[in-house]
């Protein structure tokens, strides 16, 4: 199908974008467009105005400062995939990147767009949650910073207000003790995951502490498996699998029971990654 009629405006500044969002209630921001344009083509979405933010300068930098890595919202997936800074200081994001769609889509898709869209089967929202990261937004009331755990609200639903623009994400920079793990199962490489798992931990002697397991594709938003985190911190992989308290609904990809089983398979794979020295 083809998109319904809409107007298009390329803006050069954040205030311009925020003002336009306020003037036209059903306007949508166009960043990478790799989800938005697909929904326009299928007429699942029919905004009257697209506000193209690709021309706003300064939204695509990757900066390491104050123990954190800040990634501008317009950073393309391909840019993040190639970034030495992200590989070194945010290795979980680096590890997840090849699983996100396909090269042609990673050339356009943006990190900010993935987070703001909040697809429940997408990799980056789960990574942000596992990393205990945060997002920066700009709106009519100025700038705000929102923790990942407060940002993802439900199915494609976030704390982002109708007139707010996500401008950056920020995650703690990895230290020598940081351990990360990532695995997902999809029918075709690059497709949305049936089930996926992003994880972080801190090495503590021979064991792990601060284990954070964020599953995706198992509910309306990325979810942590906190019982399993505690078991894994105690070195009990079997116990961690047994403690998985996920309740994934059936979907087009797999039944809830299959997804529960696969979540355990992924947990074993990721546990191994977490226990490897970097």
């Amino acid at each position: 199908m083809k998109p319904a009629l809409f107007a298009y405006k390329k803006v050069r500044s954040l205030p311009e974008a925020v003002t336009l969002l306020g003037e036209q209630a059903d306007a949508r921001l166009l960043a990478g467009g790799q989800s938005l344009i697909a929904t326009l083509n299928m007429r699942l979405s029919a905004p009257s105005l697209l506000i193209d933010i690709n021309g706003i300068a300064g939204l695509d930098g990757i900066v390491h400062k104050g123990g954190k890595v800040e990634i501008g919202a317009l950073t393309r997936h391909a840019q993040a995939e190639r970034s030495d800074m992200i590989a070194k200081h945010a290795p979980l994001i680096s590890r997840a990147m090849p699983y996100i769609a396909h090269p042609a889509i990673r050339n356009r898709g943006t990190l900010g767009g993935s987070i703001a869209f909040a697809d429940p089967a997408a990799e980056l929202p789960a990574c942000l949650l596992a990393l205990d990261g945060e997002v920066d937004t700009t709106g009519p009331k100025g700038k705000q910073t929102i923790k990942a755990q407060d940002f993802f609200k439900g199915l494609f639903e976030t704390a982002l207000g109708p007139q707010e623009v996500l401008t950056a994400i920020r995650v703690p920079a990895a230290t020598t003790a940081t351990r990360v793990g990532f695995a997902e199962l999809a029918r075709r490489h690059g497709d949305y995951a049936m089930v996926g798992l992003a994880a972080t931990a801190r090495a503590d002697g021979k064991g792990l502490t601060d284990v954070r397991l964020a599953y995706f594709g198992v509910g309306a938003k990325p979810v942590r498996a906190q019982e399993s985190e505690a078991a894994l911190a105690g070195g009990d992989v079997d116990g961690a699998v047994a403690a998985l308290d996920l309740d994934p609904p059936d979907d087009i990809q797999a039944s809830g029971a299959t997804k529960r089983h696969l979540a355990g398979v992924l947990l074993r794979r990721v546990a191994k990654q977490l226990m490897e020295a970097r």
Partner: protein, 162 residues
């Protein structure tokens, strides 16, 4: 002013193009309908099949997931340009020799994506070739012949085989 149609200037296969396009027109529809460059194909129209793959500013993109108006000032290359330049002549021959196509619908996107991988240099593993082409559906060949063709060209370009 925001509008439903805008003037755009870009280069397509090296030639300057100035057109007025509807904001809602995707890049691939613009190339096919306004410029009669029908080598880029329209398959799924939501980014899954890869038949519409073209290059924008040197990078492969989905022609169905970019709007023509976003290409104002851009350098667009289609399979027609890639083919005419001779840059993929070896890939095209290898596809033909190994029956890496049957109906040919996926072939322009497949060639553009394969060229993108080969341009990085070296000889990718079969696994890397499969991963790079994972976003391009072929419903005829079963992919083996395509992977064979891409691998063979990589080896020749790297001077490993003749």
């Amino acid at each position: 002013m925001s509008d439903h149609a805008l003037e755009i200037s870009l280069t397509v296969n090296g030639e300057p193009v100035n057109e007025r396009v509807e904001a809602r027109k995707t890049l691939v529809d613009f190339l096919r309908e306004d410029l009669a460059l029908t080598g880029s194909h329209v398959g799924c129209e939501h980014g899954v099949c890869g038949a519409c793959t073209v290059r924008v500013n040197g990078e492969i993109v989905r022609g169905c997931l970019m709007l023509a108006v976003q290409c104002d000032g851009a350098k667009v290359e289609t399979i027609e340009g890639l083919s005419d330049s001779g840059a993929i002549a070896d890939l095209q021959s290898a596809f033909e020799e190994r029956n890496a196509l049957q109906c040919g619908y996926c072939t322009p996107g497949m060639l553009a994506t394969a060229q993108d991988l080969l341009a990085r240099g070296g000889v990718p593993t079969r696994e890397q070739i499969r991963e790079h082409l994972s976003g391009n559906y072929c419903r005829c060949t079963g992919y083996h012949a395509i992977v064979d063709a891409v691998e063979a060209v990589a080896q020749v370009r790297a001077g490993e085989k003749k």
